[in-house]
């Protein structure tokens, strides 16, 4: 909820934050574990109520995975999707705390890097965020060099909502249509450093559809290290 409120406040400029333009080249094939994607697709009804759609969400999740794998394959990085990837239940207490810390760091980045009024003066223009050296526990669990955390919300105006938007436009009242919003965080599992972060907030896009999802992922992964 808080996150979505922040999305509404952030301007729609597409700039990723990063500490590096390149992935480490230690191993032959760089492995990026895709942490459980937090995704929900919904219909925006005429009255403004968001109705989550399970079938679209399931399809969207698959499209995102496929698009991510295709995108990173281009620079010889492999997306690893753990078994049981929809649930965090197979993580132990400490591993789960690391995932939760990563989410807290993601929220902090969104607040303090994207909202001008919440800029932290001590950070100057340095992009410097970390989940700490315990990130190694995820490295061991997934045998991966990086972890990628993805959050996505996508809503579509129902035909009724579109009608309300049109009536509103005639009367000169702005009515919100569907939105697509998301964040992606890439963490170096040796150091815990967030090496790249981006967010997406726009009134277009369609994760229900494979090709359109590829476009969304391409946009979300702007300036992703290669």
């Amino acid at each position: 909820m808080a996150t979505l409120a922040v999305f509404a406040l952030t301007a729609c400029v597409q700039t990723a934050h990063k500490t590096t333009g390149e992935l480490k080249s230690g191993s032959e094939n760089r492995r990026i574990v895709l942490m459980p994607v937090d995704i929900e697709l919904s219909v925006l009804n005429a009255g403004g109520v968001n109705e989550p759609r399970a079938d679209w969400t399931n399809a969207g999740r698959e499209h995102v995975r496929t698009a991510l794998a295709a995108h990173t394959a281009a620079f010889e990085a492999e997306i690893v999707v753990p078994d049981n990837s929809d649930i965090l239940d197979d993580l132990d207490k400490e591993q789960l705390q690391i995932v939760k810390l990563a989410n807290a760091v993601g929220s902090s980045i969104l607040l303090h890097e994207y909202l001008p009024q919440l800029k932290l003066p001590t950070k100057k223009d340095q992009f410097d965020w970390t989940i700490g050296p315990d990130a190694k526990l995820l490295k061991e669990k997934y045998d991966a060099d990086y972890a990628l955390f993805v959050f996505l919300r996508d809503s579509y105006a129902s035909s009724g909502r579109v009608a309300v938007i049109i009536i509103g436009a005639i009367l000169g009242v702005g009515v919100q249509g569907g939105i697509q919003a998301g964040t992606a965080t890439l963490v170096d599992l040796d150091t815990g450093q967030v090496v790249w972060f981006n967010r997406l907030a726009r009134a277009s896009g369609d994760l229900r559809n494979g090709d359109a999802a590829t476009e969304t992922i391409k946009l979300l992964l702007t300036e992703f290290p290669t």
């Binding site: 005429a46 109520v49 989550p52 759609r53 399931n58 965090l88 009724g160 309300v164």
Partner: protein, 435 residues
């Protein structure tokens, strides 16, 4: 979406009233007429679909109900059933699955194996063949409430465990929540909200903002819808109490106690959101009392399960009583403590918290009242918490009774030598000795 409530139209009021009055007793009774009442109770063997006519509950006969489908069967959701993915309901389930993930690790969750096992056991007894569909989480929140999500995630708040007095009362609440689940009330409500707000959006867009009358109507309709769900769930509570062998007369007692608490609060807020979405506690108490007695008359044996219940709750209660006082709703807390004292096996503990209430309130005469309750607690049956002497010392200290304060603090340290505030208390004793 429903923003403007400012201008109240007469037409709208009339519509709202009409909406409220469509419900009533029949909704409570429906589950009882649909489900077959069992005697003797058979907790494990759950029968489905019961078309047996129970004329005692009949305002409408069983056939009519079966035909028009307005009233409901316990088999609405079959055991293990998940809604199919393209439905509105599946979307809700999926969303709630994510919330449940969050709930599992939330800081408010009471991570107490024995307590959770007990609640799961009672839930299963009540839910019968739906045992595996419902998961119960105890949340440390100092208010009387339980919630049911469409996917079967049930939350029970500690404020409720503090107030229920036996297993039958708890079973009544759990049965009520299971009723919400079986009848898919969340999905019904979501559908209703979407339809009503859709209507409203067109109405206000088309009238250029003159939507307030429509808004009021819509809101009244939504609330009435809510209240009907609560009534129906209350009916399920009784039905499931019967099926699992609990004394159905206990259900009404929960409500009469809550009414006492509510009435004790002089500055109560009549706009309490709980009351606007739920039938009045007076109505629930009355109808549940009548129906509970009728159901009970069909049972030759039934159980209250008081000892089992208190055995689990009493050792855990002190923290919940402390949470209750942290609300600073002193009038209602005082009434609650009086209700508990009427039949409590550990009155010393309750009397201590009555003392705490007066110590924390700090109005005229409260200091003496606090001391009196501490003294009474020491003489009463049961065991007061170890910090009683410390609290007594704090009150004496506040009154400038230095010797008495010092003695109480010393008694505290003697009673709990490993207290986490030992160093501070020793420090205070030292200061009192020199003052």
């Amino acid at each position: 979406m429903i923003r403007s409530r400012a201008s109240v139209g007469l037409i709208a009021s009339a519509l709202v009233l009409a909406a409220c009055q469509t419900a009533g007793r029949t909704v409570y009774e429906a589950p009882l007429r649909q489900g077959e009442l069992l005697d003797p109770p058979a907790a494990t063997e759950q029968k489905q679909t019961a078309a047996t006519t129970q004329s005692d509950f009949g305002l409408v006969d069983a056939d009519t109900i079966a035909h028009d489908g307005r009233y409901f069967r316990i088999t609405d959701l079959s055991p293990g059933e998940r809604p199919s993915p393209e439905t509105l309901e599946a979307g809700l389930w999926q969303s709630m699955d994510r919330v449940e993930q969050q709930t599992r690790t939330s800081g408010n969750r009471v991570d107490d194996t024995e307590l959770n096992a007990y609640l799961t056991e009672v839930t299963c007894r009540v839910a019968g063949e739906h045992c595996n569909d419902v998961r119960v989480y105890v949340m440390r929140v100092p208010a009387f409430n339980a919630t049911m999500a469409p996917n079967g995630m049930m939350q029970v708040w500690t404020g409720l465990l503090l107030r229920t007095r036996n297993e039958a009362q708890l079973a009544g609440v759990l049965g009520h929540e299971v009723g919400h689940f079986l009848r898919r009330h969340s999905a019904q409500r979501m559908k209703n909200v979407i339809e009503t707000t859709n209507f409203l959006a067109f109405f206000s867009a088309a009238t250029g903002g003159w939507g307030s009358i429509a808004g009021l109507f819509a809101q009244g309709q939504l609330l009435a819808f809510n209240r009907d769900h609560e009534r129906e769930a209350d009916g399920y509570g009784l039905l499931l109490m019967n099926r699992s062998g609990y004394d159905p007369r206990e259900a009404a007692l929960t409500w009469s106690n809550l009414i006492r608490e509510h009435d004790a609060n002089e500055d109560k807020d009549e706009r309490d959101p709980f009351l606007s979405t739920h039938p009045a506690p007076e109505e629930r108490s009355k109808i549940l009392g009548e129906l509970g007695a009728a159901v009970a008359s069909k049972m030759t044996t039934s159980e209250k399960g008081r000892d089992r219940f208190l055995e689990i709750m009493l050792p855990r209660r002190a923290a919940w009583l402390r949470d209750e006082l942290n609300q600073r709703s002193f009038e209602t807390s005082n009434e609650l403590f009086d209700i508990l004292l009427e039949d409590d096996p550990n009155p010393a503990e309750i009397l201590f918290f009555k003392g705490e209430l007066h110590r924390l309130r700090g109005e005229e005469g409260d200091e003496q009242m606090a001391i009196d309750f501490y003294v009474e607690s020491l003489q009463a049956a049961g065991t007061p918490p170890a910090e009683l002497h410390r609290s007594k010392g704090l009150v004496h200290n506040r009154r400038g009774a230095h010797t008495a304060a010092k003695e109480s603090f010393e008694a505290y340290l003697e009673a709990s030598p490993n207290a986490s505030d030992r160093l501070i208390v020793e420090d205070m004793i030292k200061r009192l000795a020199t003052s």
